[in-house]
Each structure stands twice: as C-alpha cells, then as structure tokens.
C-alpha cells in the first residue's frame, strides 16, 4: 500500500501542490483559525501524497484535495465533539422549492433595492458571518462562491445529491444575507424599512 512510484513526487508537485492556496483558503473557512487551518492543510497534503496512486491523473485534483481536507476536518470535529446544528431537519420550509422572494429583497425595497449596502460591510464582519454558518451550508457557499466549483463536483465532494447542494447554497446564502442586512441596519449603512413586509 505504501508502494509509491519514484515519479510520484514529481506528479504530485505538478498536479496537487498548485492547489495549496485554495486548500488553505478552504481549511481556513472550515476551521476559522489560521493555526488549525495550517495543521489541517499539512495533514491533507500528507494524506493526499500517500494516496496519490489512487488519484486518476488529469482529473479534478482540487476537488479531490478538498474532499480529503473536509473528511479530515469532519473526523477531527467528531473527536472533539463539536457539532454544528443539524441542518437537514429544516427541509421544506425555506428550500429552493419555497417562494423565490428573498426576505432581504423585500426589506431593502425603496431603500437600497440593488444591495449596495453589501459594499459598506467590512471584510472581518463578512468572514465572521460566513464562519458562523453551519458547516454544511458554509462548505457549499465557499466551494461555489469562492472556488467556483460546479454543483456536480460539490455534490460528489459532500456526498449528497445535487438537489441537496442547491438547497444548502440557497439556505446558506439567504442566512448570510439576513445576518449582513441586520448588521448593515445596526451600523446605519442602510435604513431599516418600516411598515409591512411580506
């Protein structure tokens, strides 16, 4: 099993190592803390190298590394007994099958309908809100919105159907928007809309 061809390192350096920055960004969003993220990245690449003979050359190396990274993270999280809220129970109420009208769209009507207030929010506050999302939502949002992975790759990586990926993206983005909107109101970047909201 530990039989690694002598050319493995060269192949690994060519195909896997260029994704180190992306894996680090992903690990940082999973862990929140840079030191933990660095540790996670090291374990990810070590495991990836040891499994390099199972990787099919020329396929989606970045997704493969993300998969290893997330699996290591989830195993560690299990060991430390830190669980995010169970997100799958909330099905049916606010998934993509629900009304497409986003509550934030309604709230900003007549005030800032195009959402320019997002530009005023400092990076640290956005990161804080992103990191506060349950892992299942956060991972979907990070992989789609930051790493531009297609739904099919996220589906494979998270081992859930594409419909579940879409549902997690939908809920994650909506939750994030609600938190950022509330923050923008609190900071006075946008006026709270008074009156009826549908």
């Amino acid at each position: 099993m530990s039989e690694v061809p002598t050319t493995a390192r060269a192949g690994f350096e060519e195909e896997a190592l260029p994704h180190l920055d992306a894996v680090y960004r992903f690990a940082l969003r999973l862990c929140g803390a840079p030191d933990q993220a660095e540790d996670l990245v090291q374990e990810t690449f070590l495991r990836a190298f040891r499994s390099w003979n199972q990787y099919t050359k020329g396929t989606a190396a970045k997704s493969w590394l993300f998969t290893i990274c997330r699996n290591v993270y989830l195993r560690r999280r299990e060991r430390t007994n830190r669980h995010d809220e169970i997100v799958e129970r909330n099905t049916g109420r606010d998934g993509p099958g629900a009304s497409p009208v986003n509550p934030v769209w309604t709230s900003v009507l007549g005030v800032d309908p195009e959402g320019d207030f997002f530009d005023s929010i400092v990076d640290a506050r956005i990161l804080e809100a992103l990191d506060a999302l349950p892992e299942e939502y956060r991972t979907a949002v990070v992989l789609s919105d930051l790493e531009d992975l297609p739904y099919a790759e996220i589906s494979e990586l998270m081992e859930v159907p594409v419909g579940t990926v879409k549902s997690r993206l939908f809920r994650g983005r909506r939750k994030l928007q609600e938190v950022l909107y509330a923050y923008a109101v609190e900071m006075g970047y946008i006026e709270a809309r008074t009156g009826t909201e549908s």
Partner: protein, 111 residues
Amino acid sequence: MSIIDKLKSLFGPSGSNGAVAPNGDMAEGGGEMISCEEALRLVHDFLDGELDSVPAGRVKAHFDVCQRCYPHLHLETAFRDAVRRAAGGGTAPSELKSKVAALIAEAEAED
C-alpha cells in the same frame, strides 16, 4: 473571473429600461418571455452558470427588461462580490508551503 466580469459578459451594457415584461412577450433569441416568478426562481442557477431547463439567454432577456426583477439580480451579485472580496483570493503563508514540501519529501524518503 470576478462576478462583475461574469455579469458584464452575460449582460453587456446596462439593460433595464424600466419595463416590467408582461408574460407572452417574445424573448430575445426566440421563445416566450419567462415570468417574473420563474426568473427569480432561476436567479441562482443563472448566476452559477448551472441552468439546465431554460437557456441562459431567456433568463437574461427577462432581467434585461424587467425593472422589478433586475434589482434582485443586482443584489445577489453585490452579495456574492462582497463575500468574494472578504474571503476569496488569499494565499497560504510561505512557511506552510515549505512545511508541506518538507513533509512530502520526508514521506517519499520513508517509502
């Protein structure tokens, strides 16, 4: 490619002229204009480049002319740009890169 670049390539110059497109109009490139409800239901698939049931041109055609829907598309874009600005594009510390390289060399030596 940033979201703005992606949108520019999708939309070209600003398209909204204030008209709310009634159902039954012809969309650019043929086919009936999709409804506001359908356009809003598809907004994420459209921005993610993941439309499968409706051609992107038909969704684009709706947002191009619908004053009611266009702001929602713009808000979703502003949101994604903000997330990308805050969390995208960072690089790993150089010491980490050195550590990973050393780990790989060590693992190779063990085999």
